[in-house]
Symmetry: C2
Subunit: 422 residues, 2 copies
């Protein structure tokens, strides 16, 4: 029986969850995996705080050195959250050859190169299943199941809060602000919801996923980001008429050696597996040339789903002959500055002869062709109607250029939403 001493950085609800799982499943893990984990020290902010699971007082410390400088500890589990001091603690742990298991997407995505380099230089392991989509083993799939694949795209519902909001907007026709308020009341959205609704949280995760998918480091700053605050019930309803469901997707693709990594509201066909992912669930849809299409669905957040992933990483770390580290090419990643997709365009247009011809000629000028068009309702008091178009596959730059040329007196754009999975 191998015995491994471990330390915790942080002991909030996730940390307590890990403690609880290790206590409960320790004997089973010893029997099945041949390894026993002993928690030596737990760094906490406040020694006296009431916790969700009873933890022996002598394990707690408020001095990070007692974990990081403890020569007995060979694996450090980090679930403090936030950028600092988590990132520098992880780096210190790796520098002393300790393996790090983390749930911290923000620190990992923001300091990716530094963290991975330090791990490599010191032969230390780095495990981060819990940092992306909670219990869903998507990191494991990318690193350990799809090695012999050329991955062409990764599309994911990787933020539960926004999926909850959009799912309710879809099912109830409710307005964004109303559902957000409800989500806040239910604890599904933060009092300041910016990180979720503006797509920052999804961008961290997509940076990690796309880096693994394409073996190039995709910095979080390179991820195009557009949140859901501008999404209207009208867009959701118009999309439904075209058989489309609105989701906040992280989309990563490689085309012609250029990488697209973008987080934005996205329509998917209502028959697409991602369309059926409701509530606060997460799902990641991957296409690889050998494996074909795959989807991984589950709870993307929550103490116990995250703890489940952390413990699986801990066991994996202990079982490896050598720690695999994400293989990233040396050449920098070339990000795409434009991409082709189907576009949903909703606009107010003057309800008079010749307007449609003018719109069509603007699109034609930029090589954009219209796949379908519907007019919603009758003209308002100013003589404007709602027009909704779907384009064929077209460059986003071309679509926006065409729309920019439309005279305000004749029409104005309400929204442009990308469509994927068609």
């Amino acid at each position: 029986m191998e015995r491994i001493a471990i330390g915790f950085l942080g002991c909030g609800n996730i940390g307590c969850g890990v403690y609880k799982l290790l206590e409960t499943y320790g004997p089973q893990i010893e029997k099945n995996e041949g390894v026993a984990f002993e928690i030596k020290k737990i760094l906490v902010r406040s020694l006296g705080k009431k916790r969700s699971w009873e933890i022996p007082e002598q394990l707690l410390t408020d001095d990070a050195d007692e974990v990081l400088n403890n020569p007995e500890i060979s694996i450090v589990m980090e679930f403090m959250g936030g950028d600092q001091p988590a990132a520098s603690y992880m780096i210190r742990a790796l520098e002393s050859g300790k393996t790090v298991v983390t749930a911290n997407k923000m620190a990992l995505a923001s300091h990716w190169n530094e963290i991975v380099t330090v791990a490599r230089e010191h032969g230390a392991g780095l495990y981060y299943e819990a940092s992306v989509c909670g219990a869903i083993p998507i990191i494991r799939a990318m690193n350990d199941s799809l090695q012999a694949n050329r991955i062409s795209s990764v599309m994911g519902i990787i933020n539960g809060t926004t999926n909850y909001i959009l799912s309710r907007m879809s099912s109830e026709g409710a307005a964004y602000e109303d559902v957000l308020r409800d989500a806040q009341r239910l604890g599904l959205a933060e009092p300041d919801p910016t990180a979720d609704v503006e797509g920052y949280d999804a961008a961290y995760k997509l940076s990690i996923l796309s880096t693994l998918a394409f073996h190039r480091h995709v910095p979080v700053e390179s991820v195009y980001r557009e949140g859901i605050a501008g999404v209207t019930a009208l867009d959701v309803a118009c999309g439904r008429e075209f058989g489309l469901t609105l989701k906040l997707l992280g989309v990563a693709k490689e085309e012609d050696g250029r990488i697209q990594a973008r987080v934005h509201p996205t329509f998917v066909p209502s028959s697409h597996p991602l369309a059926g992912v409701g509530d606060a669930f997460n799902a990641v849809y991957v296409h690889g040339h050998a494996c074909g299409e795959m989807m991984f669905y589950g709870r993307g957040a929550g103490d116990m789903p995250t703890a489940s992933a952390l413990v699986s990483d801990l066991i994996k770390a202990a079982a490896q002959k050598r720690h695999g580290l994400p293989a990233v090419a040396d050449e920098p990643c070339v990000m795409a500055e434009d991409w082709n997709c189907v576009h949903f365009v909703r606009m107010q247009a003057k309800d008079e002869p010749g307007v449609l011809a003018m719109l069509a000629s603007k699109f034609a000028k930029y090589g954009v062709s219209i796949a379908s068009m519907v007019q919603k309702g009758d003209a308002d008091e100013r003589g404007f109607v709602q027009l909704v178009f779907l384009t064929h596959q077209a460059s986003e730059h071309a679509v926006r250029s065409a729309l920019a040329e439309i005279d305000e007196k004749i029409g104005s754009v309400g929204s442009i939403i990308r469509v994927e999975g068609v």
Copy 2:
């Protein structure tokens, strides 16, 4: 760089796929994983056969000993299919301490105890991701991601042929026989479709999945099995009126220490993630107490998806400090002889006063309560109408006992279909 010599047992389309992936991704695997695989010998049935990928002649042999007795070879990959000689070749390989990577659900499920025991006694590894659901990393998830979970249920669409047939019956209202003929013409069903449509293929996979989920050996003979040959377009249509979609599911549950493992046509709510799994796709839905609900979706068959899984197993086998083997309790598995679920019952009943009261009283006698009932169409020339019931959760034994008591002159049962995921 570690160098590992490997041998193949079999070299049909899957074997050629593995060869191709190793040739294509070899350099990348060497760089990322620190291991190089060298194929030493390939057992084939016929040396001169034309193959889908060019393989150097000197690697081929029709003598199994050249693989099994080759002391250089430390990992044997088996994709011959069928029970024998595959099972005895695997056992021989394990006996000489070689690790086995296999895609063979039939041999593995049929000889589980013997194969696992031999592997354990000789410290050899046993990897079988490709044996269940092709590219979907469901074995990896069960063994390596959900170790710290008490799994309560596993429900899967684990046979692509039957899912293709049922999906088309659902979308087109077509008859079973017509779609089966089409599937045969398209190569999606075998000329003798028994293994798929009667649920044998799914039973092998469910035996493996439920053994891993509950840490008890669930022999394939203990899996309750009912195929789709009796399913009618009328049942599919009636189910839709209740918001239900018909699938052939493998269902495994543990309740009160008893294990249910059953393969049968099953209605799931049309909003359930499994309901949206169309075409020949596979998906496995798992519930664990820590991870919550998860679903894994993808291509359950095909040369390249299967080869993708085999190569991932090969890399995993090479990276392990010690080979984990499925941990199974010593006590034998107690199989449930009855189970509770919602039942869909379609019957012909005499269209006259008192019949419904009689039916209801039979159900009541056995403690079965009716959740809803619809009458389909008008009475036929004999004065019989189609009645469709949904029960509340009820023991299957009770439902069948109640129905057995119904006098033929008054009514006869058309079909009883279990409903899960409600």
